[in-house]
C-alpha cells in the first residue's frame, strides 16, 4: 500500500487550479532589493505579503550584531537550551524581551510555532481544560493535540459564546484560555478586554499570542492587550521573531513566580537545538529598536489605513470594516477568480498572499496584504492602482 495515495485528492485539487505563469505555493524570490522590493521571476516586485510589519530585516544595528555574533560565537549552538545551547546572548535576549513586556520572566524557543506547542502542551495537563478561539493558528491547535488537556473551542471573537462554554466547566478545574491579539487571515483584532475579563471571571489563566500585533499595537508595541489597557489580565504572552522582529524564533513571557519550571517540562523547548547566536543577536537589537520606534509605528498605521481606504473606495470587498492591523485582506469570489487574481497581480509586480481553506475561516478565499512600515506612500498608492488594474484584467466586478 502506497502511503502517499491518501493525498491524491490534494494533488488533483492543485492540478485543477488555473495557474499559467506562476504558482502561489512555488514562488521563488531571486533577489531581495529592500524590505519592500524584490526580484521574482525576473520582475521587479513590490513585497506586500511578507509579515515584515516593522521592516526590521535590514536594520543596521541588527545586521551588525548578527555579524559580530557570527565572528565570535560561530554559526550555531549545536545543542538544546537545557544542555550546551544557552549562550550569554540567549540570556540577554530573554532579558530584553522581559524588559520590552515589563515582565519578570522570558523563555526563548526556536520558533513561535514551537513556543505555542511548548506552552500549551505543558500548561494544559490531563485534568485541565484548554479553551481556544475557533480561528486559532495551527500552532495553537497543534499545541492542543500534543497535550493531554480537554479542548474546548468557542466561536471566533464571540465572548458570549465563550462565557456559555466556561459556565459549563467544573469550577475548580485548571483552565487555560488561549487567544490571539490579531488573527492573521482577516487581520481582525480580538475584543481582548471582554474576552479576558470573562476568562478571569471563570478562573482561567490566560495566554495571549501577539504574533501579528507585537511591534505596532499599543504605545510600546507590546500588542493588542497593551492597546486595550488589559495587560493585567494576561498571564502569559506569546510571540515570534518571524514577523515584526524580522528574523526567526519565538518566546513566552510571564510574571508567574514558577515560570522557569517550564524549561524542564516543555518538550518543544528541550528536544530541539537553540537559535544560532547571530539570530539571537539580531533579535535582541531589533526588539530594542522596536521599543523606540514610535514614528515607525505611526507610519505603519498610516500605510494600513491608506491601503484599506484605497481598496475600499475602489470597491473591493474588505474583510474588516476598517484597518484593525497592518493585515489588509479582501474577499475573492471563488478559487478560480482568486487564483487568476493572485497570478495577474504578481505579473503586475505586487506579491501578496493568496489564502484558501483550510487556513481561512468558513471556506473563504482571500487576498491578504501585509503592510510594512518601510512602504512609502507612493508604494501604497501603486499597490492600490495595481489591484484595480488586476481586477479589470481578470474581469472581476468590484
Amino acid at each position: 500500500m502506497d502511503l502517499l495515495d491518501k493525498f491524491d485528492s490534494i494533488v488533483e485539487l492543485r492540478a485543477s487550479l488555473p495557474f499559467e505563469k506562476a504558482d502561489p505555493f512555488k514562488v521563488v524570490i531571486d533577489e531581495v532589493i529592500s524590505e519592500t522590493e524584490a526580484i521574482i521571476g525576473g520582475r521587479h516586485t513590490i513585497l506586500a505579503g511578507t509579515n515584515n510589519y516593522m521592516g526590521m530585516t535590514f536594520d543596521e544595528g541588527a545586521i551588525d550584531a548578527a555579524k559580530d555574533a557570527l565572528d565570535n560565537f560561530g554559526t550555531g549552538t549545536t545543542g538544546s537550551r537545557v544542555l550546551n545551547g544557552t549562550y550569554g546572548g540567549h540570556k540577554a535576549l530573554e532579558a530584553a524581551i522581559a524588559d520590552f513586556y515589563d515582565m519578570e520572566h522570558c523563555m526563548v524557543f526556536s520558533t513561535g510555532y514551537q513556543a505555542n506547542l511548548g506552552m500549551i502542551s505543558a500548561l494544559g495537563g490531563k485534568d485541565d481544560y484548554v479553551i481556544i478561539d475557533a480561528d486559532s493558528h495551527a500552532s495553537i491547535y497543534d499545541g492542543c493535540s500534543m497535550g493531554n488537556a480537554t479542548i474546548v473551542r468557542f466561536k471566533h471573537n464571540d465572548y458570549e459564546n465563550l462565557e456559555r462554554r466556561l459556565r459549563r466547566l467544573p469550577e475548580d478545574a485548571g483552565k487555560l484560555l488561549v487567544v490571539e491579539g490579531v488573527y492573521s487571515m482577516l487581520g481582525d483584532a480580538a475584543p481582548l478586554k471582554e474576552i479576558l475579563e470573562i476568562g478571569k471571571k471563570y478562573g482561567c489563566m490566560t495566554l495571549v499570542d501577539e504574533a501579528h500585533s507585537m511591534g505596532f499595537c499599543g504605545e510600546n508595541g507590546r500588542g493588542v492587550a497593551e492597546q486595550l489597557g488589559v495587560e493585567d489580565l494576561v498571564d502569559f504572552y506569546l510571540g515570534t521573531f518571524s514577523k515584526s522582529v524580522g528574523t526567526v524564533g519565538g518566546f513566552a513571557v510571564s510574571n508567574h513566580p514558577k515560570f522557569d519550571v517550564l524549561r524542564f517540562v516543555s518538550r518543544p523547548y528541550i528536544f530541539t537545538a537553540s537559535l544560532p547566536p547571530s539570530v539571537v543577536a539580531s533579535a535582541t537589537k531589533s526588539i530594542e529598536a522596536i521599543k523606540r520606534s514610535g514614528n515607525r509605528r505611526a507610519h505603519l498605521w498610516e500605510n494600513a489605513r491608506r491601503l484599506h481606504d484605497g481598496l475600499k473606495n475602489a470597491g473591493f470587498n474588505m474583510c474588516t470594516p476598517e484597518a484593525q492591523s497592518p493585515i489588509i485582506a479582501v474577499h475573492l469570489p471563488d478559487v478560480m477568480q482568486g487564483t487568476k487574481f493572485w497570478e495577474r497581480l504578481l505579473l503586475e509586480g505586487v506579491y501578496a498572499n493568496m489564502a484558501a481553506p483550510p487556513a481561512t475561516p468558513a471556506g473563504m478565499f482571500l487576498l491578504r496584504i501585509s503592510v510594512c512600515a518601510q512602504h512609502t506612500t507612493e508604494q501604497i498608492d501603486e499597490i492600490i492602482a495595481r489591484f484595480v488594474r488586476t481586477a479589470e484584467a481578470v474581469g472581476m466586478d468590484v
Binding site: 475557533a134 480537554t150 456559555r164 462554554r165 459549563r168 466547566l169 468558513a362
Partner: protein, 81 residues
Amino acid sequence: MAKAETLETIYGLIAPINKKGIDLKPGATFAVDLELDSLTVMDLVAEIEDEFDIVLPLNMLPDLETIEQVADAVEKIVSEG
C-alpha cells in the same frame, strides 16, 4: 442506544444545513452521507452544545462519525453533568 427524543433534537439542528435533503437516520455519517465539511460540523457542534447545555470537547470529535454516536455522547455527558 440514544433516545428518540435526543435524535429528534439533533435532526432538528441538522435540518437547516442538510442542503442535499439527505434522509436523516441514526447511522448517517456527517462527512460522507451528509457531505458536511469540517467547518460546518464545527458550527453544528457549537449548536448541539448550546442546545443541550454541555461541552463536547474537541478531543472527542474524531470518534463521532454518525448522528447516533453524537446522540450517545450527548446523553452520556448530560447524565454525567
